[in-house]
């Protein structure tokens, strides 16, 4: 089971650089990294998939992330029940004659067609990695012109708390001190 980390960081420019630099410096492998804003103002949430499977090594990665001053919390969700999703945009070469075949496939996978050109289609698909790989395989014969996959995003199922919230009990609305827009 590959390690999946959900990381809450202060939303300050340069934070992603610090995280990436840490992985390079410690010779940890990043398989995918996704970052975006989250429900806490002035904070961002990352999902990082590492190549590490062994428990103690996984803990070292987590502890090294926690050492970064701008990292608020790190949750190793590898062994927790989680929803883990990937997202992909797939541009395929297809003219009017075979469009119907593609649309059948797209329906079966509960994917969507988000752009139609004279000789192209863009398919949008969300799901587990295996589902994405499967639809890619089936679309391959049509001719894939471009493939753009985002990394995994993860969330613990049920009442599993989002990391960081429990660390911010005293803050109004769980808000962090606002970073100066100019500070890097």
């Amino acid at each position: 089971m590959k390690q999946v980390l959900v990381v809450l960081v202060e939303d300050k420019p340069g934070v992603l650089n610090r995280v990436a630099s840490l992985f390079r410096r410690r010779n940890f492998n990043i398989e995918s990294l996704v970052v975006g804003p989250c429900e806490i103002p002035h904070a961002s949430r990352l999902t990082i998939v590492t190549g590490e499977e062994e428990y103690l090594r996984r803990n070292i990665i987590r502890q090294n992330l926690l050492k970064l001053i701008n990292v608020i919390d790190v949750q190793d969700v590898t062994d927790l029940p989680c929803v883990i999703r990937e997202h992909a945009l797939i541009k395929i070469k297809v003219d009017g004659t075979r469009r119907g075949e593609v649309m059948d496939l797209v329906d079966m996978y509960r994917a969507r067609i988000v752009d139609v050109g004279i000789e192209t289609l863009i398919v949008e698909v969300t799901g587990e990695a295996s589902k994405i790989e499967s639809i890619i395989e089936l679309l391959e014969p049509f001719g894939i012109l471009e493939l753009n996959r985002a990394g995994k995003v993860a969330m613990v199922r049920g009442n599993g708390s989002a990391p960081g919230n429990k660390l911010l009990p005293d803050r109004e609305n769980g808000s962090l001190p606002q970073a100066s827009p100019k500070s890097i």
Binding site: G14, R25, L56, K67, N70, I72, L167, S180, K182, S183
Partner: protein, 573 residues
């Protein structure tokens, strides 16, 4: 905004903030991008003494030496570009040895950042892996808080270097200055304090049932002021103690439970005891490869308790049964109520046999045709009654110092351990001298290392630093030569190194200089050096081909030590 509040420039805010952080001395070198700060320094000279270094690397090492001697944060300041990059070796040294320093650098104007302007370097980017944290302050309103946070981060938790990069226009911009007083709010930074009851119970169970325990005392003992609780633990449980290089001083060297340093050039007793132990109590140390030897065969039959303030060190190199992420001093106090009195007579008797074996090989008991480095270091110990603050460089002399200068007091050895930075000793001693004004200070440095930051002799003379500089000259990069002798069939590639005439060097810089090459002449020469206030240089001409024993070859089993041959020299009876 009330008119009564003062508007200051960023440059003035730098100094006002440093004054509020208790800074009394700063080591630096001016240049274009830091000029506004230097101009403002003129108004603060009565509160902060600026030391003009001769190379920015010296400034970082001086701040480091000052920090290690005082326990306070050391501060260096430099300009952008090359001034900033010259600090990097000093930052890396401080990072590896967890030394609290703050380095302030000027940066090109904020609108010019990214344009490859004159003397522009992305110094926060370049120093990312060798700093605990860093700031690029783009708004003068953030400056005071950034400086305050930098000092807080540098000195708390596992200490370390913090860099603050300040663009020139931020130094000239004005704002109302109020030094923040609210508790520092860093949502992702919470240094730990104590162990849990379960951890204490698990550790005590191991301690109270162990038959062959050993305490490994690292720098964390000194940094958390845990000498008292450590000694109590050792004496109560009759547990022998071995320090790491940076842990020297955590228990007096003359204490009967002190086995001497562990590791690659550690004592036979310490290394054998670690290998034969059934319990290791690792206190504020990190199982560096220079102390473990081959990890797979390291202390194979022991349970291990590891206490460290940095959770990422726990289970990093060595797997342990009880890992405690906490302040060492607090944890040892938590232990100490529950440690049962023991004697471990059999264990101590076994250790004694290893110590006796070392005595038979002790070179100080032999008659040697030439002066050896070991004898020179022991003579310096005698000539200073063992009470000096010693600052060493890196190499054979450094290991000989650790073996032959017996430190009975804490905080009396400053050395570059983790990074192994040659050129460290002289500037670090100059920095330390600003704190240790009463204690005698000796630099012990090789003929290679002294030439690596020799320009700081000018700083030592200018500041009249009261340091005695012992150059242990063997005409070689001795430790590298030793490896070539042992592991590269004695092919001495580029290790013979020439030196200038150090007496002329001393004269040129304006300090007394002496040379000594016979053991019996050392006391008189040292007395001459000690009778001068201010810097003095003493060159010790030592045997070129001696090596440091014992030695665990890199990557070998810790007990597989190369020992000094039994009859290398005639015993001096």
């Amino acid at each position: 905004m009330g008119k009564s509040k003062r508007e200051l420039t960023g440059a003035e805010i730098i100094w006002e903030s440093l004054v509020r952080e208790g800074v009394e001395v700063i080591f630096g070198y001016p240049g274009g991008a830091i000029l506004p700060a230097y101009d403002a320094l003129n108004k603060y000279r009565k509160k902060i003494h600026h030391v003009l270094v001769r190379h920015e690397q010296g400034a970082a090492h001086m701040a480091d030496g000052y920090a290690r001697a005082s326990g306070k944060v050391g501060v260096a300041i430099a300009t952008s570009g090359p001034g900033a990059t010259n600090l990097i070796t000093g930052l890396a040294t401080a990072m590896m040895d967890s030394s609290p320093i703050v380095c302030i650098t000027g940066q090109v104007g904020s609108t010019a950042i990214g344009s490859d302007a004159f003397q522009e370097t992305d110094i926060t980017g370049a120093t990312l892996p060798v700093t605990k944290h860093s700031y690029l302050v783009m708004d003068v309103d953030d400056l005071a808080e950034s400086i305050r946070e930098a000092f807080y981060i540098a000195r708390t938790g596992r200490p370390g270097p913090v860099l603050i990069d300040i663009p020139k226009d931020v130094q000239t911009a004005k704002t109302v200055f109020e030094y923040p007083t609210a508790p520092i709010d860093l949502p992702g930074y919470h240094p730990p304090e104590c162990a849990t009851d379960e951890q204490v119970a698990a550790a005590l169970e191991l301690i109270n049932t162990a038959e062959r325990p050993v305490i490994l005392a690292g720098q964390g003992v000194l940094q958390s002021h845990a000498m008292g609780p450590l000694r109590e633990l050792a004496e109560q449980g009759q547990i022998p103690v071995t320090p790491t290089l940076l842990g020297i001083g955590s228990l007096p060297a003359s204490h009967p439970l002190n086995l001497g340093m562990m590791g690659m050039h550690g004592t036979g007793a310490a290394n054998h005891a670690i290998q034969a132990a059934d319990l290791l109590i690792a206190c504020g140390m990190r199982f560096d490869d220079r102390v473990t030897g081959k990890l797979q065969t390291y202390s194979p039959n022991s349970k291990k308790i590891h206490i460290d303030i940095d959770a990422s060190e726990l289970n990093k190199n060595i797997r342990v049964e009880v890992a405690i992420h906490a302040n060492l001093s607090t944890v040892l106090k938590q232990f100490n109520g529950g440690v049962k009195p023991r004697n471990h007579n059999d264990w101590m008797a076994t250790i004694k046999t290893w110590q006796d074996d070392a005595d038979e090989r002790e070179v100080l008991n032999m008659k040697t045709p030439t002066l050896l480095g070991a004898q020179a270091v022991r003579a310096i110990w005698e000539g200073t009654q063992g009470k000096a603050l010693i600052v060493t460089d890196v190499g054979q002399h450094q290991m000989l110092e650790a073996q032959y200068y017996l430190h009975d007091e804490p905080y009396t050895l400053i050395t570059s351990g983790g990074a192994g930075t040659m050129g460290f000793a002289l500037p670090a001693a100059i920095g330390a001298a600003f704190h240790e004004t009463d204690r005698e200070i000796w630099v012990i440095v090789g003929d290679g290392g002294i030439q690596m930051n020799i320009q700081e002799l000018a700083t030592a003379v200018q500041e009249q630093s009261n340091i005695k500089i012992a150059i242990i000259n063997n005409g070689y990069l001795g430790m590298v030569r030793q490896w070539q002798q042992m592991f590269y069939d004695a092919r001495y590639v580029e290790t013979p190194i020439s030196s200038p005439d150090y007496l002329l060097i001393a004269q040129a810089y304006g300090m007394p200089g002496y040379r000594v090459d016979r053991l019996e002449d050392i006391p008189a020469t040292m007395q001459k050096a000690q009778s001068h206030e201010g810097p003095v240089l003493v060159e010790f001409m030592v045997e070129q081909h001696d090596v440091v024993y014992p030695m665990v070859p890199a990557g070998a089993d810790l007990h597989a030590m190369i020992r000094r041959p039994l009859k290398q020299f005639e015993m001096d009876t």
